[in-house]
Symmetry: C2
Subunit: 337 residues, 2 copies
DNA sequence: TTGTACGCGTTATCAT
DNA sequence: ATGATAACGCGTACAA
């Protein structure tokens, strides 16, 4: 003898004097009902305080109106920019966002994806395209549409940017200013294909210019301001100190600027510093940061758009690359020599 | 004749030669089974690639292992810090996070909460305690446990800080340095009780010291670096220019510093600037920002802890206030006069 | 320790 | 335009 706390559709149907089926249609396909029946059902629903139960709906229909997103961390201005836009776009389409983060751990990503899938998400969004086969098989077997963000495996849809190009662009910019000794601070490359690509981009651009990046001129740090400070300290110790520094994310570059500022090293007088991302803050640090603009918000909206069409139409594993461009500000200057 | 793509528990039971009930127990209460039956079921499950369907599980049990969070925006270092920790804590307890944001719009918050509730969340987390009755009634009637973050309505559980005190603390700190003309840049107060409290705290502290804050010395801006810059510009125009500025969030204070820097106004030489939040960045801007430390990560973990105990134990609408403290850095200095 | 059988609230198919 | 009814996949008394 359990008391039902919530009113069900059956109750509504009863109250309105119609069948369950009719009551259901009143919500999903109101156009199929006669105006007065529709009205009666609606009245009944509000009268007894009915609230749609999407769980039951999901079970019966196989659609959950839910999209899962698996990201490395919520705690990053880049991802939160993107997430915020995804949330907005999804809500507008009456979808709900489920998020899971894994802090750059492949096993954690697998677990997160599995949980999301078990919750019946209609689509799953992943960051990057590099992950264990097991994870790919998991989503593959579930038959759930998948969209990758930032960069991705060619077999699946992706909305992102050319991270390799981003790396090349900063490197070339610095070289065009006359810099030859360039230090690079990246995030940890191991489980991060975005970072790997950016770094590769830097290296190849330098090689094309006949330069090579000595191993000592590259350091991997955490993707944060403190990471940038540490990386900067390390590179400043080099005997042939670099005349320019690249942080492969803005936070790192900003940290490098902070470190130089606190050491009385003038940026860009003594050393030029550039980043990649163009987070909002970068325009406001001093000196303002030269960087490569990555349209993180648009990645969010476009990803959602792709996902919704993937769910609706047929599967096209299209890759869309959003445009990027250098944003020349005040943290870089020509090498005076 | 519909083909079932996924293996169900029934299939597992069949494969293992046990009943559906036994198969179900193998997952939820393995201790009730004999070791060998358990093993048989598990083998069968992996053999046919069974994956738990939490949707069906939710419908049958009434528990979704899901917590909904309604926040103003994902796009803020404070909230994403908190969210990241919530995600971590929830995942550890096998809960899934559903997030919805509403960009400081009460109607949007209502809609977000309603959708979350319709998805059967086991608990719902809200930010702040000020919202239309309709929203409160919505969650009240759903019978879903609710925890507020940052600050809250006394009738419901809350994990937060004393925002009023935070405001008072910065104001007193500045006054202790000799400042009497203090300008205040807040976010928009209308739908933001955290901001209102902080501002009230500033005002009362000043009144206690025999000072009053002229209306012109307060400006409401967006909660962002650009907002801080604009607010700063406005306050710098005053004929009796303030000798100190309070940004009621760090981003605003950082914007104010940036504005002063770019105008050649020395901080803290010409003007002192302080914030509230202590986001990671604040230690790294130059000059580093004096601010009030708000334990945003702990708010996340504690909120989750409260929520889980609320779901399990009986309902206690306890309010927990986390400690805050001034972090004295280099953006503030004694008034030299 | 294991099995039987019903219910969860909705959607969808087939009649009428 | 509306109704009857069978899934959907699992949890859980209750029975054995």
């Amino acid at each position: 003898m359990r008391r039902r706390s919530k009113a069900s559709l059956t109750d509504v149907a009863h109250e309105a004097g119609v069948s369950l089926a009719t009551a259901s249609r009143a919500l999903s396909q109101p156009e199929l009902l006669r105006a007065d029946t529709l009205e009666r059902v609606r009245r009944a629903a509000t009268k007894i305080g009915y609230r749609h139960d999407r769980v039951a709906s999901t079970l019966a229909s196989g659609r959950s109106s839910t999209i899962g997103v698996v990201i490395p961390t919520l705690n990053s201005p880049i991802f939160s920019d993107t997430l915020q836009e995804m949330q907005r776009a999804l809500a507008a389409a009456d979808y709900q966002l489920l998020v899971a983060s894994h802090e750059y751990d492949p096993a954690g990503e697998f677990a997160a994806a599995e949980k999301l899938l078990s919750h019946g998400v209609d689509g799953i969004v992943l960051v990057g395209g590099s992950r264990p086969d097991a994870t790919w098989q998991l989503v593959e077997r579930s038959g759930t549409p998948v969209v990758q963000m930032w960069c991705g495996h060619p077999d699946y849809a992706c909305v992102g940017v050319d991270n390799f190009a981003a790396g090349s662009i900063v490197a070339r910019h610095l070289m065009s200013l006359g810099h030859r000794r360039i230090g690079v601070i990246t995030g940890h490359l191991r489980h991060n294909d975005r970072q790997r690509e950016r770094f590769r981009g830097v290296c190849e651009a330098m090689e094309e210019a006949g330069l090579t990046l000595p191993a000592a001129y590259h350091t991997e740090q955490s993707l944060s301001v403190p990471g940038g400070r540490i990386g900067c300290s390390i590179l400043l110790e080099l005997t042939d100190r670099p005349t320019a520094l690249i942080g492969t994310v803005d936070f790192i570059a900003i940290g490098a600027i902070a470190e130089c500022n606190s050491r009385g090293i003038s940026v860009p007088g003594d050393i030029s510093i550039a980043g990649i991302d163009d987070i909002e803050l970068s325009a406001h640090v001093s000196p303002s940061l030269t960087t490569v603009h990555i349209p993180s918000r648009r990645i969010g909206t476009e990803t959602v758009a792709r996902m919704l069409s993937l769910i609706k139409d047929e599967r096209r594993k299209e890759h869309v690359l959003l445009p990027i461009e250098i944003v020349d500000r005040h943290s870089t200057a020509a090498l005076n020599r």
